[in-house]
């Protein structure tokens, strides 16, 4: 059996070893020079567990002009991901066993990352009646996370029922927390900048009030609840106190909310239009501290591809959302590791172990140890790079991180011992 040797790699930035891979599994970690097989020089590179994104929009079926499962998978692999969870706001909506199985199959065909479908909570994400959650759970896609992402399950009774119902198969409801009545026509964070720009405000309380209510519901019915993309200092406090009470509550933050603020709206460039919106520096600081201390469990990209015509227009008319897969790791290193807030081991937890655990992604988010699946991301922490539109693998180009010096580059990504990315190029 042929082996691959990652020579001199540093698992989670620890001392260098030869990491030997055979038959898709980590066979052993041995002294540098001792590994036998096809040697790949990884001196000064860091080995991370393959990254897991609990929050990706792949747009297929329905909006293949913006992204396909194949193009999104390539973007994910280049970003160091070995598993992504696909949000159900496709067309048709992934609210039946048939659609989630279709997405699963497209992921297998693309073959670059494991694509795990998320199912809609309600039929057509309309917030009126429950989708067939059990059928999706029992399908080949084995759905465990349910979300109406893009829309909030705002009806308290429906939310309660959903939280209760999914307990039968250890499911979890992932909420896009946005009170619809408090955010009619909202365009950006409500504050100093919106007052100046004349863009309708999206107040922090519209997020926080839903999360607070949902935590109380999750406590009442003793169920698992996951708050997607939290953005405010107040939301961090609510999650912190829910966890202190022992509730089964988890939370996510996106890379862009760890770095960017509402001041960017002064450009009126819709590339900075996202939902939930960019907040203030005080919120950014609170989110960073919350991620560092574990109040926020994980980073999810909310990778949201949009075609040029939906972004080259007036702010009000533009679509919400920005790309994230190819820059996520760099932005987290920039904001959390290089600032001294987190270690590489903590980064591995927030970007791999925790999302895999919460999403029940078997064989992902495993320790780098003998006998574990060889899902690995090999990165060079010393490279400084900038993303440019022509190098983006995503079909859409709406990244907000142009012209920012990004630290850390993904060199290789391995899925079950196969290179999906080799020397920073898709290997397929």
């Amino acid at each position: 059996m042929s082996s691959i040797v990652l020579r001199g790699v540093r698992p989670l930035n620890a001392d260098p070893v030869d990491l030997v891979i055979e038959s898709g599994v980590i066979k052993d970690l041995v002294k540098v020079g001792a590994g036998q097989g096809e040697v790949i020089d990884c001196t000064d590179l860091i080995a991370l567990p393959g990254l897991v994104d609990l929050h990706t929009h792949l747009r297929e079926p329905g909006r293949e002009d913006a992204e396909t499962v194949a193009s999104g998978s390539a973007a994910a692999a280049l970003g160091g991901f070995t598993c992504v969870f696909a949000m159900p706001n496709t067309s048709p909506v992934a609210d039946t066993a048939g659609v989630v199985e279709q997405i699963l199959r497209l992921g297998v065909q693309a073959g670059l990352v494991d694509v795990q479908p998320i199912g809609a909570v309600t039929v057509d994400q309309k917030g009126e009646t429950l989708a067939e959650l059990g059928a999706m759970a029992d399908s080949a896609a084995a759905v465990r996370i349910f979300s109406d992402d893009g829309h909030c399950v705002s009806d308290p009774l429906l939310m309660r029922r959903a939280l209760e119902y999914v307990k039968a198969f250890d499911g979890i409801i992932a909420q896009h927390a946005q009170d619809p009545k408090l955010t009619v026509g909202s365009q950006m964070h409500e504050g100093d900048v919106s007052a100046r720009l004349g863009l309708r405000g999206w107040p922090a309380v519209a997020e926080e009030s839903i999360i607070a209510r949902d935590c109380l519901l999750a406590e009442h019915v003793d169920s698992r609840y996951h708050a997607l993309h939290i953005t405010t200092a107040g939301s961090v406090e609510i999650i912190r106190s829910a966890k202190a009470k022992g509730l089964k509550v988890t939370a996510e933050v996106t890379p862009h909310h760890l770095l960017l603020t509402d001041e960017l709206a002064t450009t009126y460039d819709p590339v900075f239009k996202v939902n939930p919106p960019l907040r203030t520096q005080a919120d950014v600081d609170a989110l960073r501290l919350g991620l560092a201390d574990g109040t926020i469990d994980l980073v999810g990209t909310d990778h949201a591809p949009h075609t040029a015509e939906h972004k080259q227009c007036e702010w009000d008319s533009a679509a919400f959302g920005m790309l994230g897969l190819e820059t996520a790791l760099s932005v987290v290193v920039l904001t959390m590791v290089n600032t001294g807030l987190m270690t590489w081991a903590q980064l591995a937890d927030r970007m791999s172990f925790a999302p895999a655990r919460i999403g029940n992604a078997k064989n992902h988010g495993r320790p780098i140890a003998a006998g574990e699946p060889a899902n690995l991301t090999i990165v060079d922490p010393k490279v400084i790079w900038q993303i440019t539109p022509d190098q983006i693998a995503s079909k859409s180009k709406n990244t907000p991180f142009l012209e920012i010096d990004l630290p850390c580059k993904v060199i290789h990504t391995l899925l079950r011992g196969e290179f999906t990315v080799k020397n920073s190029k898709v290997n397929k």
């Binding site: 365009q187 409500e190 504050g191 100093d192 919106s194 007052a195 100046r196 720009l197 004349g198 863009l199 309708r200 405000g201 107040p203 450009t267 009126y268 460039d269 015509e309 939906h310 080259q312 227009c313 007036e314 702010w315 009000d316 008319s317």
Partner: protein, 315 residues
Amino acid sequence: MKHLLSTHDLSKENALNILDTARMLSDVSDRTIRKLPTLRGRTVVNLFYEDSTRTRISFEAAAKRLSADVINFSAKGSSVSKGESLKDTALTLKAMGADAIVMRHHASGAAHILANSGWIDATVVNAGDGLHEHPTQALLDAYTIRHHLRANEGDLSGVRVAIVGDILHSRVARSNIWLLNTLGAHVTVVAPPTLLPVAVNSLPVEVSYDLDSVLGKVDAVMMLRIQHERMHDAYFPSIREYASRYGLDKGRVQLLPQGSIVMHPGPMNRGIEISAEVADGENSVIVEQVSNGVNVRMAVLYLLLGGAIEGEEKQ
């Protein structure tokens, strides 16, 4: 200065230059033949995505008095889903050789995008963008205030102005707040708390919820149009209650100090934010605001399209 997009970014020097230029150009409006050859052969496009007869004809009159060719382009619907995109309209106007585009648009920031997108090289004048700004309205208001209270000279240091009504949704209010502040005036905004931005304290204004307590201390009061549909979003309980608390009627107008002026950007809801007696009363300068609007817009086009008063005299 290539574009006029906002008063927030307008320097005091440029603002005063516009007001002084408007003062000189006002003589043209008083002549028998109200026309200057300055912009002969230049094309000004009035690109209006919202109905606004008043602002459009004011710009049209201004451009025509400067001998520009004027094209009125009324575009309904702008988003990707409805009709042509702003980008394609801009490219069309560029191909037709527009020298200046005067744009009214329902989206905040639309003028900013048009000017900075790289789609066109024409001058852009913001004639109102969403809830953001309406800079020429603020300039004509400042012109009117300066004419009455400062004899058309200098800045507005020491002038006290109240802006009353729907500050939250008003581009006129926003532009006036910045420009009046730049020119040294003291601004008080008066409204029910629901019609003020949550972050109103970040603006350079004093805030009051009580019109009666403010009127005795101002030299100019600017009444904003209240839109009936705001009632349905629970900004206030009824038009009647709004009018009784924030409307300027005959009784209230007597609280104003001697010589104070009453302003309104139009169109007025007579009997709601302003009573008919006050609108037509001796303190009212509302009709004058309209004629000043033409002079100020002439000045803006004149200066942005490369005219200079001195150069004009020599021609």
